[in-house]
């Protein structure tokens, strides 16, 4: 219930935040909405020596249509994603996923950057960003780099983000008018996904399918995508949903049930 003690720095700019991260090496963690980090700290699963609070960096909270891309600032709250007209028009899959996160209070505080950086293998937004072929923009001591979503998630709660980097923006190809679906199966309404599926149609008829709860990271259902691309009907392609996945086997669900759920949910998402 009580976090361990830490030093607190409030960053006034991205540069300041980066400077603090560099100064403290691995001891410092960024605090955005705090809805991934603070729960872990209260249970003392995380005991950072320094928290660098970037919550006031309003310049990182935005949604912009930038040509054929939607740029979402890392500090944009789930609440904003649910309501923002540009998101609703251009990347409605992101809104559909945001709507399914936790509960209203959590969505009021939680941020897209915080959620993605936390890299939970069952995070709703991760599925959407993967299916949308998003690119994550990170600022670090040596400048800015862009990380494709497919390369961002490297393990359970591990990402390609270095300890001295700050996620600033998520860039998503606009997908106005293209079919999408988000299917989530959870135990209770407010729980993390046991399995979740994000599906996004692409120009030219390609379909992207992303899964959560099906492995150590959020991942793409490559076999399904390839089958669909080869003209396999959705009702058949769904049976490939768990191919190549190593779904966890734990108290929440067995791996075989997860594999089954993935097929069912992929089938439902593709039917929409």
């Amino acid at each position: 219930m009580i976090p361990a003690g830490f030093s607190y720095v409030r960053a006034g700019s991205v540069q300041e935040a980066l400077a603090e991260l560099s100064r403290h090496g691995g001891a410092a963690r960024l605090l955005a909405g705090g809805h991934s980090l603070l729960p872990a700290m209260k249970l003392r699963r995380a005991e950072p020596g320094v928290l660098v609070d970037i919550g006031r960096l309003r310049e990182l909270s935005y949604v912009r249509l930038d040509g054929d891309q939607v740029a979402v600032g890392a500090l944009t709250s789930h609440r904003t994603l649910e309501r923002d007209p540009v998101v609703a028009e251009q990347v409605p899959l992101l809104a559909a996923a945001a709507r399914r996160i936790g509960d209203p209070q959590v969505r009021n505080r939680g941020t897209i950057g915080g959620s993605l950086a936390h890299a939970d293998p069952a995070a709703d937004l991760a599925a959407a960003v993967l299916a949308l072929d998003g690119v994550l923009v990170a600022h670090g001591p040596s400048g800015v780099r862009e990380i494709p979503a497919g390369e961002f998630f490297t393990g359970p709660r591990q990402s390609a983000l270095a300890a001295d980097e700050l996620l600033t923006e998520i860039r998503l190809p606009a997908a106005a008018g293209l079919a999408h679906a988000f299917e989530k199966f959870s135990r209770r309404a407010l729980d993390w996904a046991v399995v979740g599926v994000a599906v996004q149609s692409r120009p030219g008829g390609r379909t992207a399918v992303a899964l959560i709860g099906m492995g150590p990271t959020p991942l793409r259902a490559v076999a399904v995508e390839e089958a669909l691309a080869a003209g396999t009907p959705a009702a058949e392609a769904r049976s490939l949903a768990a191919r190549g996945c190593e779904p966890p086997d734990n108290a929440v669900a067995s791996s075989s049930y997860r594999a089954h759920l993935a097929e069912v949910l992929v089938g439902r998402a593709l039917a929409l």
Binding site: M1, G5, L43, R44, R188, L190, A251, A253, S254, Y257
Partner: protein, 767 residues
């Protein structure tokens, strides 16, 4: 006022954040106590290093078991005395090993983490099967095996009756372990000033707690004051004698400062005792009509790592209620309570009776399925008929009070549109695109109104009665002191309604106080659905006595005979003489004027009554659940939940409805969501509200409630109690519905909680 749905007196404070829960109370110089809990399920403690913790800022001290060796054991099973902290060994994860006191809760939490405990692991037996295996080692000294108690409840067996039955079947049912999980965890604040302590605590029986504390500290009871302030739910789990009830006052005594302990939720999930956790092996004999001829039951209770005096014997109550609301001529029952390396188990809403109702209601459904009959019809042939009441069960002393079980079932079937549902079920079975529909019935009876004294003494209480003091103020308003200690039931409201009718005092002019041993006369407490059937009658009786005396004084004032007076809104009137009237306020004021009272009349209008029930009461009813099941995922959605309850006299229909809803919600939660789980090493798998599936608003249905009001002749008020009925009735209504939905696939049972995965597997394996 009885029968009125008035809003509660309790609400204004609670709604404005002005309630007083234990953690809301601050005392000057307050210190915070935190436990160091065992992270091992079974191990010898080889060393406890407290030095680092003691050196931290704000730390006042760290204590281990040996520091409390002088304190007599906690209330325990005789011969199985339990201490306050683990001594040489730990018996389960979460058992307290050391206690830390610091100047604030943050520093105390830091210090608890700095205590280093070294363990030498012992073999872990986290299940009953492991604990009874031939190679099992005894967990709890001085027991020589893990079989803590084995009891033959009935002196006979039913082998002959089973042999003579045209049909028989066996079943093994599991009533899983649940956590009470009131939203407010356990808390204690003790301030030992002068000759004894004042203790604010989240308890259900303050006088009993006072007695136990006084005994351990060698104090006369008047020196110990126990206050149960606002208590944020209890559901039975706040009736156990947790070590902090004694450690907080002891540390306050030693330190000369107030000491507060408040559980965290994670701590609550492993430290406060759990409920249920019973394996049921059943054999039933029946005829072609489904008439049950004999029942043989062996219950195995997982009592946890340190046997609790209530928990170890709860299967007694299960045994007594095995016949449900059916006429079963012969029942044989026995139970075993087994020690395992898990958190101890004790009372949880219904405490032993829901397990019985679950068993017999599942058995009736199995019998119906075996015979190819409708479960409603099999119930009908077995139900005890209204003309047979009071009904003597096969268990001595267990006599059901007035009820009409068949009428409850008929009303339920009507409200469900049972025939329509059966048609809908067939239609959906034939349509592969439709979700499967299932209907489950639960015709239940349970025990309420605990005592009487000879029964309740066995659970350690001084009696099974309840007390009430009714006192008119000189202005005619009334203060009532009652011996219960409610925690959400609304006694301020319901008891005031009862008193208003007896006294003729407006509901608004009555205050009900409870939960403070320095204020309230000796009382028992709130558990066992005893509020209305026991305390309600105590209030009624005391109020009636006060009213009778008021009538005498009024008669004196009006120069009439008591019998010639009638009650009018303001007070008393001479029959047929509207001008000859006196207000109750005037009578009340007169009662304090010795020179103006009839000769020999004592001063004041006040009476204390102790009401001893003649027997338990038996709330009953019929609940029905309609589920639909996703054929692909196994997800169960409760479409409808319909209740017909007979709790006898309903005091306040609105709060009665709330009690039913809440109980049903916990019952549905047990059926679909909740189970306290451990891995093979005895490590808890769901010790938080993130992992323990306490259902939320979208996870539970709406409820349709109906009443049949058959007054009990066992108490003057005719009330039977209601707090535990829903939790008793609901689990099997849901499970019966699920099995019903899947019956055509050959499914005969799904173990609780019926998670989507379990349901899916049941469908998958059956087909």
């Amino acid at each position: 006022m009885i029968g009125s749905a008035v809003p509660r007196k309790e609400d204004a404070a609670l709604l404005t954040g002005r309630g007083t829960f234990v953690d809301d109370i601050h005392r000057p110089g307050l210190l915070h106590m935190v436990y160091v809990h065992s992270g091992e399920a079974h191990a010898l403690i080889t060393q406890i290093d407290t030095e680092a913790a003691r050196a931290l800022p704000g730390v006042v001290g760290v204590w281990t078991a040996r520091d409390f060796a002088e304190l007599p054991a906690r209330p325990s099973v005789p011969g199985l005395e339990r201490g306050y902290l683990a001594g040489d060994k730990v018996h389960y994860v979460g058992e307290p090993v050391a206690v830390v006191v610091a100047t604030d809760r943050y520093l105390a939490a830091d210090a608890a983490r700095a205590v280093r405990v070294e363990y030498e692991p012992l073999p872990v037996m986290a299940t009953v099967a492991d604990a009874l295996a031939p190679d099992a080692v005894p967990i709890f000294a001085p027991l020589e095996s893990n079989l803590a108690l084995e009891q033959q409840v009935t002196p006979h067996d039913v082998a002959d009756e089973l042999d003579a039955s045209p049909h028989r079947l066996r079943a093994r049912l599991v009533n899983q372990r649940c956590a009470g999980a009131p939203l407010e965890p356990y808390g204690v604040l003790a301030d030992w000033t002068g000759a004894g302590p004042t203790i604010w605590a989240t308890v259900q029986a303050p006088h009993r707690v006072r007695a136990e504390i006084a005994e351990r500290f060698g104090l006369a009871r008047h020196l110990v004051r126990v206050i149960a302030p606002d208590v944020g739910g209890a559901f039975g789990v706040k009736s156990s004698f947790m070590p902090e009830l004694f450690l907080a006052p002891e540390l306050s005594r030693r330190l000369g400062r107030p000491v507060k302990f408040v559980e965290t939720r994670g701590e609550h999930m492993v430290h406060t005792y759990h409920g249920r956790d019973q394996i049921q092996e059943v054999e039933v004999g029946f005829d072609d009509e489904g008439t049950i001829l004999a029942l043989d039951v062996t219950l195995t209770v997982n009592t946890g790592g340190v046997p609790d005096p209530v928990g170890i014997a709860l299967a007694t109550l299960t045994s007594y209620m095995l016949g449900g609301c059916y006429r079963i001529p012969k029942i044989a029952a026995r139970f075993r309570s087994v020690v395992t390396n898990t958190t101890p188990t004790a009372s949880y809403r219904g405490a032993g009776r829901p397990e019985a109702s679950f068993l017999i209601e599942r058995v009736v459904d199995l019998v119906a399925r075996r015979l190819g009959k409708d479960p409603a019809d099999v119930r009908r042939v077995n139900l005890v008929q209204p003309g047979e009441m009071p009904y003597q069960t096969p268990f001595e002393g267990i006599v059901y009070d007035e009820a009409d079980y068949p009428a409850a079932l008929d009303l339920l079937l009507d409200r469900l549109d049972y025939a329509g549902l059966r048609e809908e079920q067939e239609r959906r079975r034939a349509d592969p695109g439709a979700k499967l529909l299932g209907v489950g019935l639960s015709t239940f009876v349970e025990m309420g109104g605990f005592g009487p004294t000879p029964l309740f003494e066995q659970f350690g209480y001084i009696g099974g009665w309840e007390s009430a003091n009714v006192r008119l103020q000189p202005d005619g308003s009334a203060i009532i002191l009652v011996g219960t200690a409610p925690h959400g039931q609304g006694h301020q409201t319901a008891l005031a309604q009862i008193a208003a009718d007896e006294l003729g005092v407006p509901f608004e002019a009555i205050s009900v106080l409870y939960g403070d041993t320095a204020v309230v006369q000796e009382g028992i407490g709130t558990m066992g659905s005893r509020g209305m059937p026991v305390a309600g009658n105590a209030v009624r009786q005391a109020a009636a006595d006060v009213a009778a005396k008021a009538r005498l004084i009024a008669a004196h004032m009006l120069e009439a005979e008591g019998d010639d007076l009638v009650r009018v809104e303001a007070g008393f009137q001479v029959k047929g003489v509207p001008t000859a009237e006196v207000s109750l306020a005037a009578v009340a004021e007169r009662s304090f004027k010795p020179h103006l009272l009839p000769a020999g009349t004592g001063l004041g209008l006040e009476c204390t009554s102790y009401y001893e029930p003649s027997n338990l009461s038996y709330p009953s009813g019929a609940h029905g659940c309609v589920v639909e099941i996703d054929r692909e995922t196994g997800h169960v959605h409760v479409l409808r939940y319909v209740c017909v309850d007979d709790c006898g006299t309903v005091i306040n229909p609105m709060t009665a409805r709330g009690q039913i809803h809440g109980g049903v919600a916990q019952g549905i939660a047990q059926a679909l969501y909740e189970k306290v789980s451990f891995d093979a090493d005895g490590r808890p798998l769901n010790a938080s509200l993130e992992d323990y599936m306490l259902p939320g608003m979208l996870d539970l249905p709406g409820y349709e409630t109906h009443h049949i009001e058959t007054k009990s002749s066992f108490n003057p008020l005719g009330a039977k109690g209601l707090g535990e009925a829903g939790a008793t009735a609901a689990p099997q209504a849901v499970v019966n519905a699920i099995v019903d939905a899947l019956a055509h696939l050959g499914v005969r049972d799904v173990e609780m909680p019926c998670t989507p995965e379990r349901v899916w597997k049941a469908m998958h394996h059956a087909s």
